[in-house]
Every structure is written in structure tokens, then in C-alpha cells.
Amino acid sequence: MSDTLQSFAARFRKCPITGLSVDRSAELLIKVNAVVAVVTFLIGVLAALGLVLTRWQAIHLLDASMYYRFLTAHGLNMLIFFIIFFEMAVLYFAGPVVLNSRLPAPKMGWLAFLLMLAGAVLVNWMVFAGKADVLFTSYPPLKADPNYYLGIILFAVGALIVCGLFYASLAVAKKEKTYEGSMPLVTFGALTATIIAIISLLHGAIIYIPTWLWSMNLMPMDAQIYRLIWWGLGHSSQQINVAAMVSVWYLLAGLTVGGVVLNEKVSRTAFVLYVLFISMASAHHLLVDPGMGPAWKVWNTSYAMYLAVLASMIHGFTVPAGIEMGQRLRGFTHGTFEWLRKAPWGDPGFSGMVLSVIIFGFWGGITGVTIGTEQINLMAHNTMRIPGHFHVTVVGGTALAFMAVTYYVLPLIFQRRVAFWGMAKLQPYVFGIGITVMSMAMSFMGSFGVPRRHWDISGAQAPFHVEFHPAVDLLQAVFGIGGLAAAVGALMFIASAVVSVFFGKRVTEECIAKGLPGIPQGVLKLPSQTYKGSMVERTHKTGTPGTVVLVFIFLACFVLYYFVNWKLLSVLWKIG
């Protein structure tokens, strides 16, 4: 018996900062998944540089075949490999670590990791060998090598196993009573992300297995049915990101400034709305397709009645309000915005999280709902407005949130000080502003009819000459500069993360006491995570006036942008 106890003790280390017991096998899996995530991110960034410098027509770097190859690699490494590997790390963190418990069956975790790694390597190999020039969506009848589809299937199976392990760790933690009460909100959010992940990955299996067989000429494939089911993976997988990103917002709000959960009921209900309605959004890609009728399109594109949008608007209030309340409880009570002015803007964990909320909500959310409207989609489908939208949601939102949380994962999990600390403090700004500028330029280009996924819009050698509005030239330069800034920001992040992991100085209690650089302020002095007493009563009465002002500015922008688009639509050809 004492042997068992000892082996148990050896499995855990006590985190000196948060006081949590950390299962070493979970910790190791967090590390390997995070490292591979960063490697795939690097591939994606290098591909992105080639793409930016090609679509900036004045430079036009790559030839056509390399452009589409880079585009395929960029989409897969960013939207699938980087993000899902990172999410696997988030699951190992939000399950065993946050709940203070052990990871059941760590060997399954390694099996899953190896499957995902094998899948990612196989897919990248096929793409760079020129055997899968089909872009991220691989719409049949365009065909890739069968091994390309096989690689994605292996990756998806691995990710499904990790979701199962997460559920197992929840059950173990509950049974072994490693926490009291309900699971924390961050874990609850991660749980909703895994439910959405399973829905997405099952769609992936349902479509990629037949497509794999089709690629070997073993069965037929309908172009429309593929699009319908494929987007059950393609769009829903981006909704895993939304749920994971919102969980990271709540996590960082707590770690950086002691942000609170105003009302558990509200925040959790909003997460449940994601689970119930968000998968319908695959319809966003099929609004001008011939296979579906208007009733189907209207109902699905609106997630029933925009109930998933409602969920995001709720989080868009509760996250900043939780930060405001946390700050007010720490004494920043003057005026409407002292809590915001005196926030730790030099902490990349905080600034990255706030920029992620703003970029995702303001630009990403507003453009997404607008172009996802059935009729307005006529002006947006497959134009640059589409990548202009999702680069502010997935990149300026999710990727930036993940970068921000990395600045806390490095000291807390890897136990390393963040390398190049001065640069790290600037990184969220460079990356966030760069990606926003780039995406806005893309959106405006799309409004001039510039197509996405297009190597050369000059129309040279085409049977008919096409001339875009002269403003497009200017927008391309803005797009190029924004894209380069974002790439620089991404490389700053990679440099800092990689050097910290492999060569970083260890975080010791001594260097925390001394407040040495490379340790974010929430780690130096973790803000209180619970607040009690009369102070709470008083602050709660004031509420969060600053957040109220911010959300109404947001709503005004939303209403304006939405109706301007209807106005633009109304002057087009009559179509019906």
C-alpha cells in the first residue's frame, strides 16, 4: 500500500505558484503537444510569408503551382495542426491540472500524440511533394493522393482519443474527489470545446473515409454532399477554437488581474448555447450553393435564431465585466475606466488576451454575422472578404489568445522564464495590429470583388481583360505591410517560446521573490482568486459601468455595418 502511495507521490509535483498538484505525465503531454503545435505554426507562418508576397501583386513572388501548394500547407498547418495540437495541450491542462487530479491511461495519450504526429507528417509530406494541390477544402472532383486523406484520418482519430482521455480525467477527478463543488468554469468551457470537437471530428470521419475510398476509385462522390458534410468538420472545427479561446479568456482574466465570474449561470449557459447551435454554422459556406433551399439556408446560417451569436455577445460582456470587477476589487475604483487604464498592459498574457477579445469581437464577429447572412453572402462568397473575416477570428482571436496563454504556460508548466522578455511584451501588439490591418485590407479588397484563392488577378493571358478598381493596388500594399507585420509578430512569438523551452532559465522561488524579468506579473504575484466580505458587496453594487459603455459602442458598430451591407446589396441586379 505504501508503495502505491509513494508511486503516486512521485507522479505529482506541487506547483509553488498556484498550489496545484501537477501530474507529471499530463505535464509531459502538454509539453510535447505544445512544442509540435509551435513547429506546425512555424511552417504555417513561413507559408504565409510566401502567400502575402505573392498576392501583393507588385511583388508576386511565387509561381502559380507553388502559390497553391503554399496555400494548401498554410491552411492545414494553421487551421488544423497548430490549433488542434495546442488544444490538446489545453485539454491536458484544463482537465488533470486544473482539477488537481491524475491523468488516467497516459499511454493512450502517447498513442494519440503519435497518431496525430504521423497524420500531420504524412499530410505535409503529400502537400510539399506536390501530390495534394487541392487546397485546405479538397473539394472533389479535385483529387489528391490517397495518403493525404489517410493522414487527416489518422490525425482525427488521435484527437478523438484525447477528447476521450479528457472525459476520463473528469470522471477520475470526480470519483477521487480532487476538487469540491462544481468543476471550474475554465474546465467547463474546455468540456464544451471537446463536445464540439467530437461533433466536428465525426463529420470529418464521415466524409474523409469515403473520400479516401473515392480517391482510390472504390466509390463515387457527390460534389454537393461532400461540401455539406465537409463543412461540418471545416466550420465546426473553428467553433472548437471559439469555445477553447473563450475558456482561455476566462483563464487569463483570472491569472492576470484576478478577473471574476460575475454569474456562473450566465457564463455556463452561454457555453451550452455553443454546443447546441454552433455546428449549424457549416451552412455559412453553402449559402449560394445549388443543393439547398432558402428555408434550410436561413435556419442554419442563423444558428436557429442567432443563439450562438447571442452566446458570444454574452461572453463579450461577461469577460470584460469580470476583468473590470476583478480590477475594482483590487482597488481601481475611480471613474469609469481606471480599471482599464491601470491594467497591466506590459504583461503579454494580459495585453494578448484583451487584444484577442477586441479583434475577435469587434472585427471578427461583426463581419462574420454580416457576410453569413443568406442574401449578403451574394456579395461576399469566395471574395477576399471571407479570409478577411476569418483571419480576425481564428488568427487575431484564437491564435493570439493561445500566444497570450503561452506566456503563462512557460513559467507555470515548463517552469522556464520567458526568453527575450522585452520583445515578448511587444509581441501581442505587433501581431494583433498587423493581422488586423491585413484583414481589413482583405475585407475591402473583397468589397471590390477581388476573389480569394487566386494567384493572379491581373488577368494577363486570360481570354478577356479584367481591371480592378485602382484602390485595390493601394489595399494590396496595406495588406502586404499588415501581413508582414503579423509574420514578424508570429516569428517573435516562436523565437521567444522556442528559446524559453529549450534554453530558458529555470523559474525558482528565489527569482520570483526577486521579481526577475521573464516572469509575467500574474506569476510573480498571483492575484487573489476569491474575494469575500463587505468590499465585494460595495463593488458589486457599482456594477461594471466601463463594460456597459464598451458593449454599446460595439453594438452601434454592429448595427451600422450590418445595415450598410443591406443597402449595398439593394442596388445590385435583381436575382431570385
Binding site: A223, V298, M305, I457, W573
Partner: protein, 181 residues
Amino acid sequence: MASELHSAIVSPKGVWWSPVGTQEKRWITIAFIWCLILFAMMPFWHMKGGQNPTGIRSKVDPIEFVKRTDRFIQDYKVGEENGFPVVAPPPGSDIYLLARMWNWSPVLKLKKNAEYTLHLSSADVNHGFGLFPINVNVQVLPGYDYALRVTPNETGDLRVVCNEFCGINHHLMIGKIVVED
């Protein structure tokens, strides 16, 4: 409520299903009303608006669609431009535009303010119909006939840009539509 507030990494103890604060409640109500407006706009536009991607939707064998397009070209051909037939169909008729790697055929000559039923389909892979510079975009699939009733409301020399990746010469796939008085 609120004798205790905690962050999102702390387990809430006891019953946390407590009443919602006034500010939150107001925001959620306003947000929900806005969501209903967003939803109502789409059916409203189907009833009152002029731009809806409804169309007449049916399945079609790609070979059959190529034949229909050829017959349409034979019936109304008025000339040739850059090797493509130029077709001037009468107002009110069914008109065909075939997408195939890597061109749009035929060149269409339409009348301003006349309604046509525009049939779109592909002979091979996915293509994208992007009417430039008006900026109307529709997905074109092999095996499906997407027939949209269109009424050009301005004269002009327009282009059809392919906006769905369809292979290495995707960027050369540019067609032409002319609208005359």
C-alpha cells in the same frame, strides 16, 4: 448575492444558480432582440427584397448540361470573340453559362431591365461565378443546375471571374457578359 466572487479556475461551491445582475440582464435582453432582428431580416428580404440566392435548383448530368449549352449557343449565336461564341438570347429566355477548366462559355449579350433564367453548372470540378465589377458571387458545382432569375439593371461590359480554386490555370478563367440598352 455576491458575498463571494471567484475567478474561472476556482470551483464554485454550493448552489451557483443565482439571479442575474441588472446590467447583465439588460445586455442579454438587448442582445437577444438584436439576434431576432438579424434573423427576421432574411425572410423579410425574401418577401420584399430583390436579391435572393433561391433559384431553381436541380440535378443534372454534366454531359447533359454541356449538350444544353451547345444547343443554346446554336440557337442564339451572333458572332465570336477571342475564340468564344457570342450569344444574344431574347429577353425572358433560359440562358446557359458553362464552367469548365479553365473558361466560361459562351459570351452573353443581355438587355438591360430584361429578366433571364441563368443556368450555371460545371463540366468538371467546382468553380465560382463572380460577376465583376458588380460583385455577385455564386458557387458552381458539377452535377447541379443552379438556375437564377436575373435582371441586369445597368448597361456595361462585365467579366465573370472564377472565384473557386479549380486547378493550376484557375487565374485564366475569365468570361464576359455584355449588357446593352
